[in-house]
Amino acid sequence: MRTDRKIATGLTALVLLLAGLPVMAQEAKVPVKEVTLDNGLKLLMVVRHESPTVSGGWVAHVGSVNERPGITGIAHLFEHMMFKGTETIGTKDYSKEKPIIAHLDAIRQQMEKEYAKLRAAKRRGEIQGNIYAPENETDELKTLRAEMKKLQDQEHALIKKDELDKIYTENGASGLNAFTDYDMTTYFVTVPSNKLELWFWMESDRLLHPVFREFYSERDVVREERRMRVESDPIAKYEEQYDSMFWTSVPYHHPVIGWPSDVESISRQEADQFFATYYAPNNITVALVGDFEPEEAVTFAKKYLSRIPRGAHEPPPIVTQEIPQLEERRMSAEAETNPTVEIRWHTVPFVSKDKAAVQIMADLLNGRTGRLYKSLVESKHVASGEPYAWSRAMKYAGAFEIGAEVADGHTHQEVEDALLAEISRLQSEPVGDHELQKVKNQSLADSYRRLRSNFYLMLQLLIYDAEGDWHALNDMPGRLQAVTADDVMRVAKAYFTPTGRNVMWYSRKAGTEEDPELAALEGKARLAAKQMLAQIGQVNDPSQLQQIITKLDASKDQAPPEFKPAVELVLKRARERLEKLSSAATGKEK
């Protein structure tokens, strides 16, 4: 228990003193028991007997921030490999499997040499597209791949498919999973409370004797994951590049899932090195939340986890700092989405003394009684939906974003101006007592809401630990209550500068817009109108557009009756565009 007796007594006195005044609730405090093993592994425990389960997880303090060019995505690929079993689990006979794995790696190295040639050929312009596409496969690669396939079949015969998963499943575990982020790789599962020892057995086994089997097919799974999450998502593919623009030097610059070229070429040897450096017990924290006795858990921890030797070297520190941004940066994307504006600034890391004030700033802006909604939606009517603000404080740096969807009939510029006006207000006027108290009341209630599930409490402990300090779970609610109007004004001025701005404008990609007038047309007429509208959209020269309009106008009477409404629509749009082009031209001359 971390509750300090003196503080507790002090609180009682305070409560008595305040008797008769309205009841004030205290922010949540979670009794966390912390134990560190001799090998440096840290264990965090919270006992709650409500449900006969234990949510168990651990975090390796490694994420994409620890990667270098060429192996981006390895932390995440690695997370996948940790489910492939061990020398005991997932195999019929590891001694027979081992030489096959070595052979596979040797073939893969030969294939890498071939891919290097293909990369060179692509640089010279001799081949097009993806070097891994079947069209680009050389005869040598075909042979090697066939050989690989043969070995994979041999390996397959020796594998007990996904046995790690099977053992947990048949023992009543649920939610076996993991995630990788910039600063962390986190593994977790919920087990029935009588199976705590199984959890220690399984997790210590995969930390002690992991086998990265099926490495190359799993790499393909990760490529599919990237296609799903990023490349086939209408927005995520642009957000990835926006993120990459936002972070210049700090290694949050590359995506957690990795650049596609790197994911396709990471080798098992690189994975081995990665494991040796970052998966040592001195770089790992375990969290258990649920129905168990801490003394028993400590006994199990000593028995199972103490076996893992401390790493030979401490993981190297991250030294690269984000270089100060010199000027505002902008990106605009034509995407399949509604028009949207996003503005992002660099703020503070997780452990910063200013984190609480920055969070309160986001809270003041958010929600239907928040400043963005009141201004952009209720007063100025320039945004649709609910404008948002988020603050994300990570281990080495932080970001803060506000954004909104542009309402019909309004412009990106109006939304951007309205968003920025709310930042200026926070910089120039102290926030009122009632408004500040409102967000503090919410933050206090949320400090309890966050604790409703054992699983999420376990995750929060691990995430906070990875971002800098798990004590934030208990300290942050109090720090949020202590934020003053002056604090908010100070951080608003310090971090939200014009030169530090990053602005993203999404506009709807031509041809994917909803268009009620177009949709109202019949069959062929609609198709024809759609094509003509797309062509007109490409014309940027007012005089050329004028010629088109004149021609259309002259020929419209000859059009068959079913096409008349289509021609009218096209003419109307062409005239609107002409007006816009002419006024833009006039604007430039000023």
Partner: protein, 495 residues
């Protein structure tokens, strides 16, 4: 000397025990011995009481946190929307909360609830809806009258009503942006048919036709004492809670609502491949399946176990193992079955794969589906699936809120509480023969529909490593995208 001896002896014991503790580590997890763990389903009857007007309440105390949740559940939903007013349930559900109540304007209601740090939400779903309040337990007395205002005197304030309609139309504009949304919409059309209420989706015209009076009468017609079941969970004292509820919810007039039965689908879709072109994505989304069953169908337990082995059980299931883990053809691959209480669900196997390998992965998936009806599952597969159902069952009752809401939902929709008390027994009774039988009788691979959304040109090319082509799985029907606002087909073929 003696002292030294003691130290030496202690050291020896320590060393010895360290030695044994290491040697005690089991070689395999199967060798571990676990203490017994028994679980009894909480007694629904003991949580239930009735208010003066007959409203049933399921209350379960949990004093761990100073929070309390009151959920008012009611029957009725989107299936009752009149033709031409599609979207009514969703808009009414939204403006009910956002549009003010009692003597509070929308803005005052928002301010007061936010200052109180109370989460108060309203929603109307497919066949039922709810009003839910979560608040610090010290503020329950203050918040309950506000909940009552929302329940009985919603204002549907004009600006918020207009806003909800605009927002829904903004959302509708995104209908074709994400291939996942297209797939979700078209799947329901294939399974339930255009005529079924699930596919009566809002259009710009139908949203324009909805009035605030429509919302008010829709909501008012459902909030009747005879149509409501309440769940309460969290930090409360039972006498005080009963008193509070009697003064508030207990005062609702003793009326029943005219809630019609949920219509049943009668659609039969021509089997084959339904292909929707979405040229700008590099991964295809593929779904295969058929109409299924309501909850409580005699084969339910066997069907659940069957599906778990086929594709429902994650990495222990055949589809995930084969399509993802063996071949690396997908990140997400598996199957699921739904068993709604009031209308039949469906069986659906699904995956996403790069365009060129969609047909190959589909071939594997189809062979696995067929295989379920051809050969008995292994004892080990059966055991894993059944153990998982049996041992994870207690998690349905892991919090007071889950338990109270589950039991209240039973009474609301007509699912007997005994469904839960006999659940494990029914799962335990499933045999490999049962699994084979239900796969043969209830899965119809030859009559299934296959939905494919993605870059059709690439998908049709196939991949050299796999013999399968999309056309091998039945006639290919090219399905047009639909205009996001009118839902009219966007090309000639759809006419």
């Amino acid at each position: 000397m003696r002292r030294l001896n003691i130290i030496a002896a202690t050291l020896l014991i320590l060393i010895a025990s360290a030695g044994t503790s290491l040697s005690q580590i089991a070689k395999r997890p199967e060798q571990l011995k676990f203490p017994e763990l028994s679980f009894t389903v909480p007694d629904a009857g003991s949580m239930r009481f009735e208010l003066a007007n007959g409203i049933p309440v399921y209350a379960k105390a949990d004093t761990q946190l100073p929070l309390v949740t009151v959920t008012v559940l009611f029957r009725g939903g989107a299936y009752m929307e009149p033709a031409g007013k599609e979207g009514l349930a969703s808009i009414a559900g939204e403006v009910w909360r956002s549009g003010g109540a009692g003597d509070r304007t929308a803005q005052q209601l928002d301010e007061d609830l936010d200052y109180l740090a109370a989460d108060l939400s309203t929603s109307i779903g497919d066949v039922s809806g709810q009003v839910r309040l979560n608040v610090l337990s010290k503020d329950l007395d203050t918040a309950m009258p506000i909940l009552m205002d929302v329940l009985t005197a919603p204002r549907f304030q004009a600006d918020r009503f207009a806003k909800a309609k605009d927002d829904l139309i903004q959302e509708m504009k995104k209908r074709n942006d994400d291939s996942a949304n297209i797939e979700r919409r078209e799947w329901d059309r294939l399974i339930y048919g255009d005529g079924y209420w699930i596919n009566h989706l809002p259009t710009k015209t139908s949203v324009d036709a909805i009035t605030d009076a429509d919302c008010k009468s829709f909501v008012t017609s459902l909030v009747k004492a005879g149509n409501v079941v309440v769940a309460v969970a969290g930090n409360f004292e039972e006498p005080a809670l009963k008193n509070l509820l009697d003064r508030t919810l207990g005062a609702l007039p003793k009326e029943t609502a005219q809630v019609p039965p949920v219509p049943q689908p009668d659609h039969v879709q021509e089997p084959g491949v339904y292909l929707i072109d979405k040229p700008d994505v590099n991964q295809g989304r593929v779904s295969v399946g058929q109409l299924g069953f309501r909850l409580g169908t005699p084969d339910e337990a066997s069907l659940r176990v069957m599906n778990d082995i086929l594709g429902g059980g994650g990495f222990t299931s055949r589809i995930t193992k084969s399509v993802r883990s063996d071949k690396g053809l997908a990140y997400s691959a598996g199957s699921y079955m739904t068993f709604p209480v009031t209308y039949p669900g469906f069986f659906r196997a699904l995956f996403q794969s790069k365009s060129r390998t969609c047909a190959g992965a589909l071939g594997i998936t189809m062979r696995l589906i067929r295989g379920m009806g051809e050969q008995k599952v292994s004892a080990s597969e059966l055991e894993t699936a059944k153990s998982s159902f049996l041992l994870t069952f207690p998690r349905r009752f892991e919090s007071a809120e889950r338990t109270a809401t589950l039991f209240a939902g039973d009474e609301l929709l007509g699912r007997p509480h005994s469904y839960w008390t006999s659940y494990r027994q029914r799962i335990a009774a499933v045999t490999a023969d049962d699994v084979l039988r239900v796969a043969k009788d209830d899965l119809h691979p030859d009559r299934m529909v296959i939905l494919v959304v993605g870059n059709s040109e690439e998908i049709l090319k196939g991949y050299p490593d796999f013999p399968d082509k999309l056309g091998d799985f039945g006639p290919i029907h090219k399905v047009p995208l639909r205009d996001p606002l009118t839902l009219a087909p966007l090309t000639e073929e759809g006419k």
